[in-house]
Subunit: 416 residues, 2 copies
């Protein structure tokens, strides 16, 4: 195998390291734009044509790239001129346990959602075991699609509504579920025959989805609020998730916005999520439990009533928008980001929230006159976190493409 | 000059780069512990003895290192065994404009304060020009000491109580002074004959001082609150100041802790600094302007009254401690740091604050059970920011020792 950087790669393990890094360089180059020829990849990356051909060969073999028609730039026929693009055969599975729904999606490397399913169900009424059984059944539905379409699964990740210890795969504390210390990664893995499973906080994953395919594409510094029953945030700083010292940062839902306010499920008082979560908004609007159960999707019910001019709902939304403005202004005073993204139930509810949030950022952020922080609205609705769970795997495939071989073998063995 | 890394340094500019990096490596190695011999520096850094000797020679010439007696480890006599330590001849000048005082200090590389002066004066009653005149006079006092003791000044930096654009050296907005858009770096520089001057936010510099020589030494992730009249914070993440997208982050004083509270100088309502700053505490305790003026140092007056059991002061401190607890718990929920440092006037007032802050962190931080965030008390009092201003320069000398030659020349030329 020709290798023109041999001067820096004395041993075979050095050569492997350099080759792996270059696999990532080539794949990310192609992922970052339109289809292009090997020759153009070579000129864009500074690698020789021979090296690019060899790397592209491996990436095609791994189902990460494919050739598509002629390269429109070179205009020449024949193999070296064929344009390369991301393959749609490598996919990742996203799963999500939320307070009032379960979700699954399959997304491919090119950003297409191949499969998705949301099941509304009140998980507060269940012990963790049966909920995780149901989630595993959803995952098996995804696995069946993957097998039927001969796709390659690069991995599975689960979005969780609470504090997560990512390395051990544990949900430490989910106040709104009343769960603590659940080894979710192991539990799901064992239900799926031992495939590797990663877990992360839902709001972190929602932020990842916005950065990967959503309204925050191209933004390096932003705060994404993800509200359902609970309220969390994912914070991007310098192009990456900010996690804090122990991975417990960005808990926006538990900053205090109403010191003398209502008790929160977390044990404190006046947390943001006591006013801004969808159930908090419904409760303050006087929507009773029966109405909520009948409507099933609380957010949709809130939107319906607000559109009809329901005064109680509109007043509750106004209160939520004030609290959200206070909370986000505090966070922007601390993080000095370029944008905030309203996600989860705040997306559909945005028409009743955005103006107040924008005003609060203008009045309450000390640097508002110099920096200016945009207010963006997610287009994913409650689908953001589960798509982010898939993106978690897909991002790591782009960064370390060689791992896909190991992963897909592990997934196949687990399923068989 | 012998140079054993010539294999990686093809051109003379490469050689300069490598040599400069190695100057920093050697200087930081010696700064990080007890005095040691050239031989030990060589074995600790992996550089050859010849290179170390040459680098040490240059560092001695730059007045950054000095030899001191025998190396206790080698026990051998003669020049190569002589122990090396940081010289106390290279110093930096810190200046500070605060709302009710001006300050200057001279600190040497070894961490000794060679000179310091605090002048209590209400800068709200003055236009910027006269205040900066007075600050420049303080700086000249420092320059005279430096000249008299034949020290080498590595630079001057100014701590400012507001939003700072560090690159342009401008104070953009200081709500408590009522100043905006003041080119402080240029103003001070021109008053000192053109020496280069840097500026930074006071709370950032206070955090730097705590990390450099204070209670946060060795901590990579902490929030340092610096309260005087205003309240700011400096936040260390991963061993460095977190500045945000435009350098305006960490504005803890303007997060909302009392939504229906008092108006703040910044134009918002219920900001942390409306309750926690020293004047806010004094005002809520009913201490009138005349009493404050008579006491001159408001913090000392608050301590005196609290120690005597003054019920109004103790009640106001209790209110401040609750607000501070709420604000810090919100910040810790977002940043997930290992410690908070109470600085500025909060240091002397800590006996009336720490218990409430600790309790708030325990109750209001979602991850309190897993992470645990210490509450530390600064020992610098109102001297933290001005010492941090000196540390700003001294840190950069350690990182880039060769710059000290250029800087000290510039300073000498400016003064002469």
């Amino acid at each position: 195998m020709s290798f023109e950087r041999a001067g820096n790669a004395h041993s075979s393990s050095d050569q492997t390291t350099v080759r792996r890094a270059n696999l990532g360089v080539v794949l990310q180059q192609i992922a970052g734009g339109e289809p292009r020829s090997r020759a153009r990849v070579a000129s864009d990356t500074g690698l020789t044509r021979g090296t690019v051909s060899s790397l592209v060969g491996e990436l095609i073999e791994l189902d990460l790239l494919r050739e598509t028609g002629e390269d429109q730039r070179s205009g020449r026929a024949g193999r070296p001129g064929l344009a390369l693009e991301l393959s749609d055969r490598v996919v990742a599975v996203g799963l999500e346990v939320n307070v009032d729904y379960l979700a699954v999606c399959v997304e491919d490397l090119a950003g297409n959602v191949r499969y998705q399913k949301h099941v509304h169900t009140d998980n507060r009424r269940s012990a963790p075991g049966p909920v995780l059984n149901r989630l595993a059944r959803l995952a098996r539905g995804a696995e069946e699609l993957i097998a039927a379409e001969s796709l390659v699964s690069a991995g599975i990740a689960v979005a969780l509504p609470g504090l997560v210890a990512a390395e051990s795969g544990t949900l430490l504390r989910a106040p709104n579920l009343g769960w603590s210390d659940i080894a979710v990664a192991d539990e799901i893995s064992s239900r799926l025959g031992g495939v590797p499973v990663r877990v992360d906080n839902e709001a972190n994953l929602a932020a990842l989805a916005e950065h990967w395919q959503g309204v925050a594409r191209g933004l390096d510094n932003f705060i994404c609020v993800f509200a359902e029953v609970g309220v969390g945030a994912g914070i991007f700083i310098g192009g990456d998730l900010f996690r804090g010292s122990h991975g417990f940062g960005a808990e926006l839902g538990h900053i205090t916005v109403a010191p003398g306010g209502l008790p929160c499920q977390c044990g404190a008082v006046g947390c943001l999520e006591t006013i801004v979560g969808q159930e908090a908004i419904a409760r303050r609007a006087g929507i009773c439990e029966d109405d909520k159960r009948r409507a099933r999707n609380v957010t949709r019910e809130l939107v319906r009533r607000a559109e009809q001019g329901d005064a109680a709902v509109i007043a509750s939304l106004a209160e939520a928008s004030r609290a959200l403005g206070i909370g986000l202004a505090s966070a922007v005073n601390l993080f000095d980001v370029d944008a905030v993204v309203l996600g989860g139930c705040l997306g559909p509810l945005a028409p009743w929230l955005v103006a107040d949030v924008r005003e609060a950022l203008g009045v309450r952020v000390l640097s508002a006159g110099w920096s200016g922080c945009e207010v963006l609205v997610s287009e994913f609705g409650e689908g953001a976190a589960v798509r982010g769970a898939a993106a978690l795997t897909l991002r790591s495939v782009l960064a370390e493409p060689w791992l896909v071989a190991e992963r897909s073998v592990a997934v196949r063995e687990g399923v068989s």
